[in-house]
C-alpha cells in the first residue's frame, strides 16, 4: 500500500490552503499566487539545494503549528521552511517582513551597477522587479561600488560579475546538470565571485542553462548580447526533435519578424524553467545557440506572458492576467477607491475601457478630445 501523504493546513496572509506535508512555505504561497507569494532571487525549485541565501523571501511565522502555536522568534526563509499543520504565516501583512525585505533589496542593490539601460537582462530582470515591488527610492550608499572585469565562459556565455548577486543558481546548474564542474565560487564575502578556474571555458552541452537561471544580467547569451531589447522581440513557443540526451527540445523563440534572435528554455510564471512530464525542461546548447532559424523549429504559438511584464507591451494576445489577492488578504474588504481616473481625466474617454483596447492606447482612441 502506498504511503498516504498527509495534507497540512497553512494560512498565509489570511488565506488558508491545504498542501501536502513537506511543502515549503514559499511553494504553498505560490499555490495561492499573486502578491502572497514571496519574491525569491536564489531559490529555484528545479535546482537541488538552492535557496536560503538571498533572504528576500523572509516571512514571519505568527504561529508554528496547531500543536505548538508559538510564533517563531526570527523571520524565516520561506523557501527553506516547510509548513506545519495549522501554521500561520504573514508575508505582505507583516510590517516586520516589509521592513526586512526593503533592507534586503537595499543590500542587493548596494553593489549592483544599475546599468539597466545597457544591460541585456533589462525587462526580464528579477532584481528590477524586486526593486520596483519592494525597494525604497534612492540609495543611502555613498562609497564606490565593487567592480569586476568581464569574463567569457567559452564562446556562448559571458559573465559580468559586477552585476552578480551571488544567488549560486548557476553553480548548482554546473553541479547538477553538466558532467564536469569547472565553475564555482572563488574568494569570500564581498569579494566572492563566480568563476571558472583560470577562465577555463565551460564546454558542456547544458551550460547554457546557467543563463536561464541567472536572475540578473550577470550571465548573458553571447549570441544575443546587444542584439535587441527583449521587449522588442516576440516570444513564441516552439519545439524540435532534439537528439541530445536530456534535452526536452521545447523552447521559447524570441523573434523579430522571421528572425530568431534568441532561444531560451520555456519559463513559468515564477521565472523558472517549466517542467514537462515532471521533468525540468532544460535545453541543450545546440537548441539554444545553433538553431537560429524558424525552419529549425515547429512553432506552436505565441508564448503566454504576464500582463504586468514589460515584454507584454510588444504583443497583445494571450496575456495572462495575474490573480488578484488583495481582497482576500484584507478579509474581504476592497481597497478604498480614491478616484476613478476615467471620470477625472480631461483626456480620456470615460466610456472606453482601457483594458478592452487591443494594444496600447492610441490618440485615435480618443478622437473626440483632440484639439
Amino acid at each position: 500500500m502506498a504511503d498516504e501523504i498527509k495534507t497540512f493546513k497553512v494560512t498565509i496572509d489570511n488565506i488558508t490552503i491545504d498542501v501536502p506535508a513537506g511543502t515549503t512555505v514559499l511553494n504553498a504561497a505560490r499555490k495561492i499566487g499573486g502578491d502572497v507569494a514571496p519574491p525569491a532571487m536564489c531559490y529555484y525549485s528545479k535546482l537541488q539545494g538552492s535557496g536560503g541565501k538571498c533572504r528576500t523571501c523572509l516571512v514571519e511565522i505568527a504561529a508554528g503549528s496547531t500543536v505548538d502555536p508559538r510564533p517563531m522568534p526570527k523571520l524565516v526563509a520561506s523557501c527553506r521552511t516547510t509548513v506545519m499543520d495549522g501554521m500561520i504565516v504573514k508575508n505582505i501583512t507583516s510590517e516586520k517582513v516589509k521592513d526586512a525585505r526593503a533592507g534586503v533589496v537595499e543590500f542587493l542593490l548596494l553593489n549592483h551597477p544599475l546599468d539597466c539601460p545597457i544591460c541585456d537582462q533589462a525587462g526580464e530582470c528579477h532584481l528590477q522587479d524586486l526593486g520596483y515591488d519592494h525597494g525604497k527610492e534612492g540609495t543611502r550608499y555613498e562609497f564606490p561600488r565593487r567592480t569586476f572585469e568581464k569574463e567569457n565562459f567559452g564562446p556562448y556565455i559571458q559573465l559580468h560579475m559586477t552585476r552578480c548577486i551571488l544567488c549560486y543558481r548557476c553553480t548548482y546548474v554546473a553541479d547538477q546538470l553538466t558532467d564536469k564542474r569547472v565553475h564555482g565560487i572563488l574568494d569570500r564575502g564581498e569579494h566572492a565571485e563566480i568563476s571558472t578556474y583560470i577562465s577555463r571555458a565551460v564546454d558542456n552541452d547544458f551550460s547554457g542553462n546557467m543563463i536561464d537561471v541567472c536572475p540578473v544580467g550577470a550571465l548573458t547569451d553571447r549570441t544575443f548580447r546587444f542584439k535587441n531589447r527583449v521587449w522588442f522581440t516576440k516570444p513564441v513557443d516552439a519545439h524540435r526533435d532534439c537528439e541530445t540526451p536530456g534535452c526536452c527540445g521545447k523552447t521559447t523563440l524570441w523573434l523579430r519578424g522571421e528572425e530568431v534572435f534568441r532561444v531560451t528554455a520555456r519559463k513559468d510564471e515564477w521565472g523558472e524553467v517549466q517542467s514537462f512530464d515532471g521533468k525540468p525542461g532544460w535545453i541543450c546548447n545546440t537548441c539554444r545557440f545553433d538553431k537560429k532559424k524558424t525552419t529549425d523549429w515547429i512553432i506552436e504559438g505565441v508564448t503566454k506572458i504576464n500582463r504586468h511584464s514589460v515584454i507584454s507591451q510588444g504583443k497583445y494576445d494571450n496575456l495572462v492576467i495575474p490573480k488578484e489577492t488583495i481582497k482576500e488578504v484584507m478579509n474581504g474588504r476592497s481597497p478604498h477607491l480614491l478616484m476613478n481616473i476615467h471620470d477625472e481625466s480631461e483626456v480620456n474617454e470615460p466610456d472606453i475601457h482601457l483594458s478592452k483596447i487591443n494594444g496600447p492606447a492610441h490618440s485615435d482612441n480618443f478622437n473626440n478630445h483632440q484639439p
Binding site: 538571498c54 533572504r55 543590500f107 548596494l110
Partner: protein
C-alpha cells in the same frame, strides 16, 4: 583561591606528555566511563549543568540528547577547535599545554555518543598545536586509549585532526562540517540541524574544546560535585582569556562566583589597569558580544554587583547587559577610542563574512566603511542613524550567527557610546588628535541612549 578543574595540573612539568599526564591521574575518566552505559554518561553531563563553552552557552547534555540514533548510521563527534573569535585564546592554551585533557574528554564523549570516528577541526593558524595534538593522539593510541577494542570493552574509536584554512566562519558548526567534508566553508541552512544531518549527512555533535575537556572532571568527580561549583545555571569552571588594558593578560580559570570588579582588579586575576588609568569599557565575552561602559559592566542596571557568569553578564538583556560568550575578556581603558574599536571589529566581520547571504555580505562592508568615515573625521550625524539601521537589518536576517555577531558590537557601541560618535562628527579635526576619553562612562548613574 577558587577551585580549578581544567588547569589544576598546568604547572606540572611535562604535563604535555603522556607519562606525566597519566601519572597525575589522566585517563581515569575513560576507565570509569567505559564501564558506564552511554546513556548514563549523557545523563551525567545533563545533571552537571555544563553549558557549551564556545559562545552560545547551550546546555551540553541537552545537545547530546538531541542526537538522532537511526539504526546502522554512523554518528560523529566533532571538536570545534577553530577558535578565532577576537579576544579568545583559551582553547589554544588548553590544547597547547594539556593536550591529553582534550583527547581524554573526546574519548569519553565519543563513547557516550557512539562515535567511532571523531574529528578535531583546528584553526589553521594554530599550526604548531597540530603537531602537539597529533603527538598526543599517537601517544593515546600507543597506550590503548584509542583504536580497536579500547580497554577490552569492544568500543572502537579513532580521532583525526583536520586543519582549517584560515576562516573565522568555519567556527560556525555547519560551516565547519562543510569544510571538514572538503567543501567551501559556507554555513548550511538549518534545519536540518547537525544532530540529525551533520557530517557526511550523519548525526553529528559539534562541541567546543573547553566543553569536551570539562567532561573529564564531570566524570571523575560526578555531576553533583561539578554542579556545586559556580552559581545557578552557571555550573563548573570557565576559562577566561583576558586581554587589553590590564596588568596581567592571560588565561584564568574562574568558578563563576566572583564579581567582574574582582576579576579585573584583584591580583589573582587581571591585576588592575596599567599606568593608573581608569576603566572605560569592556567586551566581556569575545568580540561579538555587546560592549559595556564601565558603570554598566561593574553593576547591573538594577544596581547589583555584576558577576562573572552567564546570567549576571546577560542581566538586563542587550539594553544594559552583555554575554558570557566564549570568555574573551577585552578591557579598554580611558585612552581607548570606541569608534576606532568598533571600526576594527566591523573590519574583521567584513573580512570574515562568507558572502553567502546578502545582508551580511553587503552590510558588513557598508558598516565598516561608514565607521571608517566617522573615525577619519568625515562622519555626519545621519551616519550614526544609518549604522543603527544597517545593523538592525542584518541582525536576525542571516543564515548563520555571523550576521548577528557583526551587528551586535556596532549596536552596543551606538547604544552606550552615542555621545562619543557624535563628538567625532562634531569635532572632525580634534577627533584625529585626541580621544574622547572617559567622559561619563564610569559615572554611577547612566541612562543608555536608545537610537
Amino acid at each position: 583561591m577558587s577551585r580549578k578543574l581544567l588547569l589544576e595540573k598546568e604547572h606540572i612539568a611535562g604535563i604535555r606528555g603522556y607519562e606525566v599526564y597519566r601519572r597525575e591521574g589522566g585517563y581515569r575518566s575513560v576507565e570509569k566511563a567505559l564501564k558506564m552505559a552511554p546513556a548514563d554518561i549523557v545523563e551525567e553531563v545533563k545533571r552537571s549543568g555544563l553549558r557549551g563553552r564556545g559562545g552560545a552557552g547551550f546546555p551540553t547534555g541537552m545537545k547530546w540528547s538531541f542526537l538522532a540514533k537511526p539504526e546502522g548510521v554512523a554518528r560523529y563527534l566533532v571538536c570545534n577547535a577553530d577558535e578565532s573569535e577576537p579576544g579568545t585564546f583559551k582553547d589554544r592554551y588548553l590544547m597547547e599545554f594539556i593536550p591529553h585533557l582534550l583527547i581524554e574528554g573526546m574519548i569519553v564523549s565519543s563513547f557516550a555518543l557512539g562515535s567511532n570516528v571523531s574529528y578535531i577541526y583546528i584553526r589553521g593558524e594554530y599550526a604548531w598545536i597540530t603537531d602537539i595534538l597529533e603527538n598526543a593522539i599517537e601517544e593515546a593510541k600507543q597506550n590503548g586509549w584509542l583504536g580497536k577494542n579500547i580497554l577490552g570493552t569492544g568500543f572502537d574509536c579513532e580521532i583525526y585532526l583536520q586543519r582549517g584554512a584560515g576562516a573565522y566562519i568555519c567556527g560556525e558548526e555547519t560551516a565547519l562540517i562543510e569544510s571538514l567534508e572538503g567543501k567551501r566553508g559556507n554555513p548550511r541552512i538549518k534545519p536540518p540541524f547537525p544532530a540529525v544531518k551533520g557530517l557526511w549527512d550523519c548525526p553529528t555533535v559539534v562541541n567546543n574544546v573547553e566543553t569536551l575537556a570539562a567532561i573529564v572532571p564531570i566524570i571523575n568527580e560526578g555531576a553533583e560535585a561539578y554542579a556545586k561549583i559556580g552559581v545557578g545555571k552557571s555550573t563548573g569552571t570557565k576559562l577566561m582569556s583576558a586581554c587589553g588594558n590590564i596588568n596581567k593578560p592571560g588565561i584564568y580559570e574562574i568558578d563563576m562566583t566572583i564579581s567582574v570588579e574582582e576579576f579585573i582588579y584583584s591580583d589573582e586575576y587581571c591585576g588592575g589597569i596599567p599606568n593608573g588609568k581608569k576603566l572605560k569599557a569592556c567586551i566581556p565575552g569575545g568580540s561579538s558580544v555587546p560592549i559595556l561602559p564601565a558603570n554598566l559592566l561593574l553593576t547591573t542596571a538594577k544596581g547589583d554587583k555584576r558577576l562573572m557568569n552567564y546570567e549576571s553578564l546577560a542581566d538586563g538583556g542587550f539594553a544594559t547587559g552583555s554575554m558570557m560568550g566564549s570568555g574573551g575578556f577585552i578591557v579598554l581603558d580611558e585612552d581607548q577610542c570606541i569608534v576606532r574599536n568598533t571600526m576594527t571589529l566591523a573590519r574583521f566581520y567584513h573580512h570574515e563574512s562568507c558572502g553567502q547571504c546578502s545582508p551580511c555580505r553587503e552590510g558588513t562592508g557598508w558598516m565598516e566603511r561608514i565607521l571608517k568615515k566617522i573615525d577619519n573625521g568625515r562622519g555626519e550625524m545621519k551616519d550614526i542613524d544609518l549604522l543603527w539601521d544597517i545593523q538592525r537589518k542584518i541582525e536576525g536576517n542571516t543564515i548563520c550567527p555571523l550576521g548577528d555577531a557583526a551587528a551586535w558590537p556596532v549596536a552596543a557601541a551606538i547604544r552606550h557610546f552615542r555621545d562619543e560618535f557624535e563628538w567625532h562628527v562634531l569635532n572632525p579635526d580634534e577627533c584625529l588628535k585626541r580621544n574622547y576619553g572617559l567622559a561619563h562612562y564610569a559615572d554611577p548613574v547612566h541612562v543608555p541612549v536608545m537610537a
